[in-house]
């Protein structure tokens, strides 16, 4: 996968919860195309009209708090979010995003340095974040274990390989 990503930014505040990312009343939808229609609907109903493939989400602390609904990560992946950079993530959202192969990086103070409508570049390997003026922030590099999942496009393909190997052995 590409390690150097460039995207336009959509900035949000602290404690953006899963109901804002994907409201409960749409959780019954199961097809990705349907789920994609409601990304960030609770925070900004116009979001899906504005977002383009490869764009970034920038947020404060505790992004994705609340429900375990994987729809929250699925919908952001489905609209093509390239990376989410937040000061911290809620635990279940963080796992869900990684499992789907959606890069999520923790970066202190990022919400004070990047606003909506900017263009930034991130090196997924080093965690360095740049704008046209140069390096503006340093995210925590992803652990080897997590990078391995992201590089494989999510955990499903890894588990599939693991199960196929076991089948061959037995």
């Amino acid at each position: 996968m590409q390690k150097l990503l460039t995207g336009n930014t959509f900035a949000f505040g602290n404690n953006v919860d899963t109901d804002q990312i994907y409201p409960g009343r749409f959780v019954e939808l199961t097809d990705v195309e349907d789920v994609a229609k409601y990304a960030m609907f609770g925070a900004d109903p116009e979001f899906t009209c504005k977002v383009k493939k490869g764009d970034f989400i920038i947020a404060g602390t505790n992004f994705g708090c609340g429900s375990s609904r994987e729809h929250a990560a699925i919908t952001l992946k489905a609209v093509g979010i390239g990376v989410i950079i937040a000061e911290s993530f809620a635990r279940i959202f963080y796992r869900n995003a990684i499992n789907l192969g959606l890069p999520v990086l923790v970066c202190p103070n990022i919400s004070k340095r990047v606003t909506s409508g900017s263009t930034v570049q991130i090196d997924l390997l080093s965690g360095e974040i740049f704008d046209e003026t140069g390096k503006i922030a340093q995210a925590e590099p992803m652990s080897e274990y997590i990078m391995h999942i992201i590089e494989n496009g999510g955990i499903k393909s890894l588990i599939k390989k693991q199960m196929e190997t076991k089948t061959l052995v037995s």
Partner: protein
């Protein structure tokens, strides 16, 4: 090592573990809710054909119980068929209630075991000394396929509650106060152990409310050291032996905080975040359109009993609706047996099917724009129970029942 670390080490087949380490653990009980058809899809996408161990899988049709749209019905149909095809006997259909309460009612939440459910409030099982944690659909599918899941061993923080609670003040007030003081991200990725002298006076139901709400401070799991209260509660329910782990005396917590509850007043989390907490006195007189008593946090028989005590022989205020959702079939039966249902229905309350109902904003008690609700549930995010312009206050069962009686926010201790 901490009891949680000993538990995780055992399940990972290791002699010791430490915070930050990534381990692969056997999961004792894996639960799936009807919101997450993606679990079954992910299982098949991973190449899954037969579930690793059907006897350790439990399916809950609780969030849409009973289905209120065709799509919900279709999803539930696929869950039932999956259980029948896979030999999953633990199918908890729409008559059973919210996953966490059902597990407890049926004696399936064991001390010293790992419980993983596709529901963020799985931290509830810490009330029994279990390692309960919520995950997404794909993580649960990995358990279906392999019987295991990876975990990062969490740092452990300790929250002590000291002293005896004043009359009319409850575990929900304690935990709202703690979340308000510490913040909604205080325990992100961490395990929270609850301890202190107050716990000796708390029933299992109240302990469950504490552990349940630890999710709202970001906790991965929660823990209360099983004691005589725990053992007495479990004695009648458990079908097999269990192991209780103990924390070594030299264990060092990542953080330790104490709260004195002897002068605690009823608390409210005001819109629109769970850590926006105040003394209830700040909101006295605020009109309430809907009082809602239910959920895996505050829908147990004890909670319904408190409401019956407050409303016995009285009427719900004329411009207020009082919606009650028993957390489970067991809770409903107990509430009927004790006369709570009769009392509350006569007072003007509306009972709906045991389950999650409006707690997550799907059906049975949704809010219109501009309405105000006081509830025993766990979240007051914008749009959580309906329109994003509705306001949700979180409080104790007493605060909710007293508001239903008076039609406005009042100090519940005056009505006990």
């Amino acid at each position: 090592m901490h009891a949680i670390e000993k538990l995780l080490a055992k399940k990972a087949g290791k002699t010791s573990v430490k915070a930050g380490e990534i381990i692969n653990c056997e999961v004792d009980m894996a639960g799936i809710n009807d919101l997450y058809l993606q679990t079954i899809r992910s299982f098949h996408e991973m190449g899954g054909v037969k579930v690793h161990d059907p006897s350790r899988v439990i399916m809950f049709l609780d969030h849409y119980a009973p289905a209120s749209t065709i799509m919900q019905a279709q999803n539930q149909k696929q869950f039932r068929e999956f259980c029948w095809d896979q030999g999953i006997d633990l199918l908890m259909d729409i008559d059973q209630g919210v996953c966490h309460q059902v597990l407890v009612d049926k004696g399936l939440s064991y001390p010293g075991e790992i419980v993983v459910i596709t529901d963020s409030h799985t931290t509830t099982h810490g009330a029994f000394g279990a390692f309960g944690t919520g995950v997404g659909a794909t993580d649960l599918a990995i358990i279906l396929a392999t019987g295991k899941l990876w975990f990062r061993v969490p740092e452990i923080v300790k929250i002590n509650f000291e002293g005896k609670l004043p009359h009319g003040v409850y575990a929900k007030d304690m935990i709202l106060h703690a979340i308000g003081a510490l913040g909604a991200d205080y325990a992100v990725y961490k395990a929270v152990e609850f301890s202190g002298s107050t716990l000796q006076h708390l029933s299992v139901s109240e302990r469950m409310a504490l552990c349940n709400m630890s999710t709202e401070m970001g906790a991965k799991t929660s823990y209360i050291q099983p004691d005589d209260i725990t053992k007495a509660f479990l004695k009648e329910k458990m079908a097999r032996p269990y192991e209780i782990y103990h924390t070594d005396a030299d264990f060092v917590y990542a953080d330790e905080i104490s709260f004195d509850v002897t002068k605690l007043t009823p608390q409210l989390a005001a819109p629109s975040s769970v850590d926006n907490v105040y003394d209830i006195s700040e909101f006295i007189g605020r009109h309430i359109d809907q009082a809602y008593l239910g959920s895996c946090t505050g829908g147990r028989a004890e909670d319904i009993g408190i409401a019956a005590h407050i409303l016995k022989g009285k009427k719900v205020a004329s411009r207020t609706r009082f919606v009650i959702v028993p957390a489970s079939k067991g809770v409903l039966l107990e509430s009927m047996e004790k006369g709570y249902v009769q009392t509350l229905v006569e007072a003007g309350a509306t009972f709906v099917t045991p389950g999650c109902a409006a707690c997550l904003g799907t059906h049975e008690g949704m809010l219109a724009s501009g309405e105000t609700c006081i509830t025993t549930t766990n979240r007051n995010f914008p749009g959580r129970m309906g329109d994003t312009k509705a306001e949700i206050f979180l409080g104790s069962p007493a605060a909710v029942a007293a508001a239903a009686l008076m039609g406005e926010i009042v100090d519940p201790t005056l009505y006990m």
